[in-house]
């Protein structure tokens, strides 16, 4: 699923490692999410959106 994770993460000056820690996942999962190769659960989508100070509907392109 296409998303703006990378864009927002860079805007907030966060590394993939830091975002992974905030979302309580492994860095590899953030890599896959940014590349749109993994569709997260609603919980993970919410955690990532919260870590990036945004909402799910603004983060993911449906």
């Amino acid at each position: 699923m296409k998303n703006k994770i990378k864009e927002l993460r860079i805007k907030l000056n966060l590394t993939q490692e830091e975002l992974a820690q905030k979302a309580k996942v492994r860095r590899e999962t953030i890599v896959f999410l940014e590349q749109g190769k993994y569709n997260p659960s609603l919980q993970l989508a919410y955690d990532v959106a919260t870590a990036l100070k945004t909402s799910i509907d603004k983060l993911f392109i449906f």
């Binding site: 992974a20 820690q21 309580k24 996942v25 492994r26 590899e28 999962t29 896959f32 993994y38 997260p40 659960s41 919980q43 993970l44």
Partner: protein
Amino acid sequence: MKLKNYQNLQNAISLFAIVGLEYFLTINSYLWALAILLIAVVILFIARKSVSEVVFDERDNNIRAKSFLMAAYSFAFLSVVTIILLMLGTVSEENYKMISLTLIVSLVVIFGVQRLYYIYYQKFAHLEKKGVYIALGIIMLLIVLVGMLRFFSGEDDWVCQNGQWVKHGNPEIPIPITECK
């Protein structure tokens, strides 16, 4: 401990455990096999506790589910091949026959247990009174197990007691000709 180091240790310990288990099982040293397994589990448990990063997340969980499914399918394929070989009579060695039969029975058990879990998660896991259903399920399972044990345990057989063959139940076969020790 860093996650990368933990993963390397996990791979090394797994390899060590597999080789060790294989070796001690083939020389019938079951105590050592158990010890190897316990040592591996304890080391991995302690190592995992020392990792501060996330070791396992939802993506890993999805991958694990898929890989388990693929392993089950591979196992099923292997069992089907084994059944065909048994049917064709190409397996003549008794040991291989036993291994083949174990493989097939294991497959049936694995898929049976999987089916039980599937039914549980589909129909009962979300219910408020799931405890009652679990208890009922366990009771039913026990009844089936006792029935199977009764059927396969050789209740009706000749039993060796004090150097003599004693009739136990109503055996269909005649008294064994082998010496009773």
